[in-house]
């Protein structure tokens, strides 16, 4: 470009590019802006040397990528930032470890600590079946109500969580209802269902239903249908049904009973977490004292 053309209106050089008579003016970015750009480039080079920056195909360590000259990693940063948290938690944990359930319930600080830990562990481990709100689903007990299959004191709840229900553990809670489809006809089972429903509804029932119930079911579910927590036999006389409260659902359960399973959490969670979980579940509203 020997002769630089200047725009007649502004006096600014043109780049020589022209589209339909519109000429591009050469207004370069300000010098300071260019300076900042260059500084950022230099900064980036220095940064990539000092900090882990470049991914590598076969990682140097297990995490891959360049290490950086000062050896800084986010993992160390995280660990450092957690030291204080763990130290603070340790003070509570040591007190919590040696405290009985009653002690914890009487101490606002420990109780809040247990509830916070329990709520967190509940969401991680229990919410999958029992729901984030603890309301359960058909076949998965609602933990908020006052109807407990195996007892609602903190100790009962603790034992259930620790050893599970029908789990692979010697101490596990275990109950099994026979499949009455092998013993009785469909009509007989329907009569039993009518009688079982009458505990809560007060409706009429055939005499045969009561006779068969007294003979086969009362041993576990009790004469008046109130169940037996020692054997894990559900209360049939209340407003809450585990596998559904319609007659069809009742008949299905009597014919071929479904049996839920809860793992023994002592194999996966530590003792403190188990105790925190028991306190948390007990606090949800249905917890019993004795």
């Amino acid at each position: 470009m020997s002769n630089i053309e200047k725009d007649e209106h502004t006096g600014v050089e043109t780049t020589g590019h022209e589209w339909d008579g519109i000429k591009e003016l050469n207004n370069p970015a300000p010098r300071w802006w260019l300076g900042v750009l260059i500084i950022t480039i230099i900064w980036a080079i220095g940064y990539s040397v000092i900090y882990p920056s470049w991914p590598t195909l076969s990682g140097d360590g297990e995490r891959g990528g360049t290490v950086g000259s000062i050896g800084w990693t986010q993992y160390d940063e995280l660990a450092d930032s957690q030291v204080e948290i763990f130290e603070r938690r340790a003070q509570y944990l040591s007190r919590f470890e040696s405290a009985s359930f009653e002690d914890v319930q009487a101490d606002p600080g420990l109780y809040a600590f247990a509830l916070a830990g329990g709520a967190s562990a509940f969401k991680d481990n229990c919410a999958t079946c029992h729901g984030t709100g603890g309301t359960g689903a058909p076949g998965y007990p609602n933990l908020l109500d006052d109807d407990w299959l195996w007892g609602g004191t903190i100790e009962d709840i603790h034992q259930t969580i620790r050893f599970g229900v029908r789990a692979d553990h010697d101490e596990t809670r275990f109950s099994e209802m026979p499949a009455f489809a092998d013993i009785y006809s469909s009509e007989e089972i329907a009569d039993i269902a009518d009688y079982a429903l009458s505990f809560s509804t007060g409706g009429s029932y055939p005499v045969r239903g009561k006779e068969l119930y007294d003979e086969q079911c009362a041993l576990c579910h009790a004469d008046n249908g109130t169940g037996d927590r020692f054997q894990g036999a559900p209360n049939l006389a209340d407003a809450i049904w585990f596998y559904g409260g319609s007659k069809a659902e009742l008949v299905a359960q009597i014919r071929r009973p479904k049996h839920g399973m809860m793992p023994n959490w002592d194999s996966r969670l530590d003792a403190n977490t188990l105790r925190q979980l028991a306190i948390f579940v007990h606090s949800l509203g249905g917890g019993e004292t004795e």
């Binding site: 209106h9 420990l110 509203g285």
Partner: protein, 471 residues
């Protein structure tokens, strides 16, 4: 009008102002304003105010970690930040009011930008000398003298900046404690960061940016012209009296010429570097230094003062036509400003005088909305928060009404009864509460929660819901 199309200038290089020293009525007023405002700024955090054992004794304190703000007898919790809104509304309208009466006197005398710039110019003058010396020094080549004078100036600026930032942090911490920490360089990085940031911004704004802040950054200086009218006091050059201007030798006749001797002293003293004789300009901050300058000259040439003066457009016109001058303080504009200030002030005062010493908040559980119990009754869960803004521990009795057969139970450590909930002084009591009732006919019942102190002096209510249907 111009005959040749001059190239459009996209960037105008700033002409730095070197305000000349002047003495007079308005300069005196400016010194007083500076001493008063800076004294308030630097000393206010050290004022004490006894609030008893459970609260800090600093009169003005914004306690960020504890989420409290204190202003003498006023204590504000975060949710009461609307008092701050009221204060800002008041400040804004007060500014409008003053501007409509007397122009940009806020800008000229009390704005921090003006006060600190003034202070920095003073430092500059002490070290480098008055206007002519400073200009010569700035234009001249680098020499040992220039070097040390500039170095001292900038060092003093930075020290003032540090004091500015140093005082700022006192409003957010216990001032005497923090002062000791600062002296020992033992401050948290948050405090140090603020001091540094304000040091830098003060140095930048008052040392370098100066009037450019008012011209390009400050929104107020731009929209204030909307508050001007013919009865607003502005600084004006009396063109009628002054023109035609010209040099005047002692003994010359004043006939057939104006009073302006074209000494340009009004331009030399101007901190924003304008010529007031060109008329009212956007840059003018109404500081009145040109008035002082002109009066001094008028005294010397033995002409009446007031060639440049504070006056209203109305009165300038009245004088020209020989009509009596008058001041219209109460005009529709000022009337409205006063009304707004009165209303906002009254609302705030009412709010402060009737500020509740406590609050009750009830949050209904969302998951689940309700629980059916084995006997068929319905239970709802709530998170209850009782705010105790007093400086004494208080016992509250919580009850629920509006629901047949409702029973209330508190789920908390130590199994407290609902009628004896302890809420510590100056804190929030947080309780889990269960309300159980026979299933109501409606799936959604309105209930009222009431928290009252045992002596019945405080009663707080909250309208809540009891749900028994729907998901």
């Amino acid at each position: 009008m111009s005959d040749t199309a001059a190239p459009i200038k996209f960037f105008e290089k700033r002409e730095r102002a070197y305000p000349k020293r002047i003495w007079g009525k308005y300069r005196k007023l400016k010194w007083v304003a500076m001493i008063v405002t800076l004294s308030i700024y630097y000393l206010a955090p050290f004022l004490r105010w006894d609030r008893g054992l459970h609260a800090p004794d600093q009169a003005i304190l914004i306690d960020m970690p504890a989420r409290r703000a204190y202003f003498f007898f006023i204590e504000i919790w975060p949710q009461e930040v609307y008092y701050l809104t009221g204060l800002l509304v008041l400040a804004a309208v007060a500014l409008f009011f003053v501007t409509s009466l007397a122009g940009r006197v806020w800008c000229g005398y009390t704005c921090p930008q003006t006060v600190w710039t003034d202070l920095f110019v003073w430092v500059e003058r002490i070290v480098q000398g008055d206007r002519a010396k400073r200009m010569r020094l700035a234009k001249g080549p680098w020499s040992l003298e220039k070097l040390w004078k500039f170095a001292v100036t900038h060092m003093l600026w930075i020290i003032i900046g540090m004091l500015t930032g140093g005082a700022w942090v006192f409003y957010f911490n216990d001032a005497p404690t923090l002062l000791e920490q600062i002296i020992h360089f033992d401050v948290p990085w948050s405090v140090g960061g603020w001091i540094l940031a304000l040091t830098f911004s003060t140095y930048l704004m008052a040392g370098f940016a100066r009037e450019q802040v008012c011209m390009y950054m400050c929104p107020y200086s731009r929209f204030q012209s909307a508050m001007f009218d013919k009865d607003t006091l502005i600084i004006g050059y009396d063109e009628d009296r002054g023109e035609p201007r010209g040099k005047h030798k002692k003994g010359d006749s004043w006939d057939g010429r104006g009073d302006c001797v074209d000494c340009t002293l009004c331009v030399q003293v101007c901190p924003v570097g304008i010529d007031i004789r060109d008329g009212l300009q956007m840059e003018c901050i109404a500081c009145g230094l040109c008035v002082d300058a002109c009066n001094e000259i008028m005294d010397k040439v033995e002409r009446p003062r007031g060639l440049i003066r504070y006056d209203t457009t109305h009165n300038v016109e009245a004088r020209l036509t020989g009509q009596p001058v008058s001041s219209h303080v109460l005009r529709p504009r000022t009337f409205w400003y006063i009304s707004i200030m009165t209303i906002v002030g009254a609302v705030m005062l009412y709010g402060l005088l009737n500020r509740s010493p406590s609050e009750l908040h009830v949050l209904h559980d969302r998951n689940p909305l309700y629980v059916t119990l084995s006997d068929g009754t319905i239970r709802n869960g709530y998170d209850i928060r009782i705010l105790n803004k007093t400086h004494d521990d208080m016992i509250f009795s919580l009850s629920v009404s509006g629901l047949e057969g409702a029973e209330i139970r508190v789920q908390a450590a130590g199994d407290p009864e609902a009628d004896s909930l302890l809420v510590y002084a100056d804190s929030v009591g947080h309780y889990r509460v269960f309300v159980t009732a026979p299933k109501p006919s409606s799936g959604r019942s309105d209930v009222t929660f009431t928290a009252r102190t045992t002596d019945g002096t405080i009663v707080e209510t909250y309208s809540g819901l009891f749900l028994s249907a729907g998901r």
